[in-house]
Symmetry: C2
Subunit: 300 residues, 2 copies
């Protein structure tokens, strides 16, 4: 059976490339590879894309892409649009250089903020997917991951945002610092996580001052790896919640991300008295790309 | 000329092995190698030591060693002595297994603290060297490095201490996180350092919340590598000073460490209104080992 999509959706992040053959808002077929932007040089993007979609291109369907593919070190640098603004403006998509005439690629712009300086690439498309479902949402979206984004939403627009390097810092400290001897790849203990999160929410400097005590507690008191992982995760997320407090206190808050990680944030917020709703982010990227596709159809 | 020391001083840390042939408190000869504890398995210690000292052993002089050589993963695990206590008790030195009969090795114990949990190995010997010169000191010693120790001293004893992983965290974030694209191996700009240190001293959660903005400022505002390095160093050291405030506020404070790093701490403290004295740590290890040698002579 020949697949003949009327457009192709692409989520191209640092570590993964995911593509969907689409007819309107319906997925005909989904494929993925590990050819993320992080491992490709500029001339590697077209071949990596063709590897997954070359049999979908007979009718030259538009390819709508979001994510780090549009970074300065990606395929072609896409714009940053300055907040406050709606999450998407497909008219400002970047067209990367292609040599295969069947390719018609649009890389969606990211978002930037002047003060404090911040940028995002990819999450704006998830946000657009969320707003397509809940256009009147007024509150905060929390998108945890390697980098966690806290995003203030009102009037259908991103009003401001703040990125925390929590996932990346966790991974470096747990796996490469002296705490690797204590934590390594252990999964966080839930009780230790919540206790440490509450302590760091009250005393944010514990995310720095509380690190070496984990090693000492392992040497002196037999703190085990799961407890160490839970405490480290709790210290970092607790300090993040402290700094992000104006974004979640007395606001509607929705956490969008991988279920296990999102659950950690939800439990830490609940302990601080904030009810946050949890949503899986995977479907929202596609909803956002679909919204972008509809806008491109209208404007070209 | 045959060197015939009456004892041998050894500073054996994670990355370096340094030895001195001693006559009383006088250095006859100094040698070193890169055979730090971090790269040796238990049966590698004796050969690494013999490589440097085998021609000094004719009279079987005592070898007095401090540092990570006494860690659980070192040559032989030395005790931890629980604070409050004087920094040294050579009578509790550990004798590692040796097969060469000319070797008479004593590994000095480290220090531990129950609450908050903390440990040190090596710095206690520098502290002893400092107290040999200033036995009546009442105040705080700050020993920056890969891990920075803040040590409260009174009555000739260590009353308590707190270790911060500042140097190690700096290195991981500057060289391995996404900020490597912004900072790498750049040397910290002094103005950016002081500005960020003041901000983090006032708002310690900036040591976490202020990280990603460095990447964004490089992308949006052209923040250069030296400014990025200065800001990162300032955020981490500023947050450390905030957490350590009870240890330096209105107390005599002496910073013991490598001159460039010690100067960063001194300037950040001066900006916060605290006059700290700076001392080079290298000579203090030897003074502490010399004090330990004298005590061993008395007790054996």
């Amino acid at each position: 059976m020949v697949v003949s999509p009327d457009w192709i959706a692409v989520d191209w992040g640092t570590t993964r490339l995911r593509v969907w053959a689409m007819r309107g808002a319906t997925v005909i077929e989904a494929r993925s590879s590990d050819k993320g932007m992080g491992q490709l040089s500029p001339d590697g993007f077209q071949p990596a894309l063709l590897e997954l979609v070359s049999d979908w291109l007979d009718t030259r369907p538009p390819v709508i892409a979001c994510g780090m593919v549009g970074a300065r070190t990606g395929w072609a640098e896409a714009d940053y649009r300055s907040v406050p603004c709606p999450p998407l403006d497909p008219a400002r998509a970047t067209r990367p250089p292609v040599s295969d005439p069947r390719l018609d690629v649009h890389i969606l712009p990211g978002l930037s903020q002047i003060d404090p300086p911040d940028v995002m690439r990819g999450e704006e498309t998830q946000i657009a997917g969320f707003l397509a479902e809940q256009p009147d949402f007024d509150g905060t979206l929390c998108l945890p991951g390697t980098h966690c984004k806290w995003v203030r939403i009102a009037d259908g627009a991103v009003q401001g945002f703040h990125t925390f390097m929590t996932g990346e810092v966790y991974s470096l400290i747990a796996r490469q610092s002296v705490l690797r001897l204590t934590i390594g790849d252990a999964q966080p203990d839930a009780v230790a996580f919540l206790e440490a999160a509450a302590q760091a929410l009250a005393n944010p400097d514990l995310c720095h001052a509380g690190l070496f005590p984990l090693r000492a507690a392992a040497l002196l008191n037999g703190l085990d790896a799961a407890q160490g992982a839970g405490r480290l995760s709790g210290l970092l997320i607790g300090a993040e919640l402290a700094a992000a407090r104006p974004l979640w206190l007395d606001r509607r808050t929705v956490i969008i991300g991988a279920p296990e990680l999102a659950a950690l944030y939800q439990r830490a917020l609940a302990q601080a008295g904030a009810d946050a709703v949890q949503m899986d982010g995977a479907a929202l990227v596609l909803a956002g790309l679909t919204a972008a596709r509809a806008a491109i159809t209208r404007t070209t």
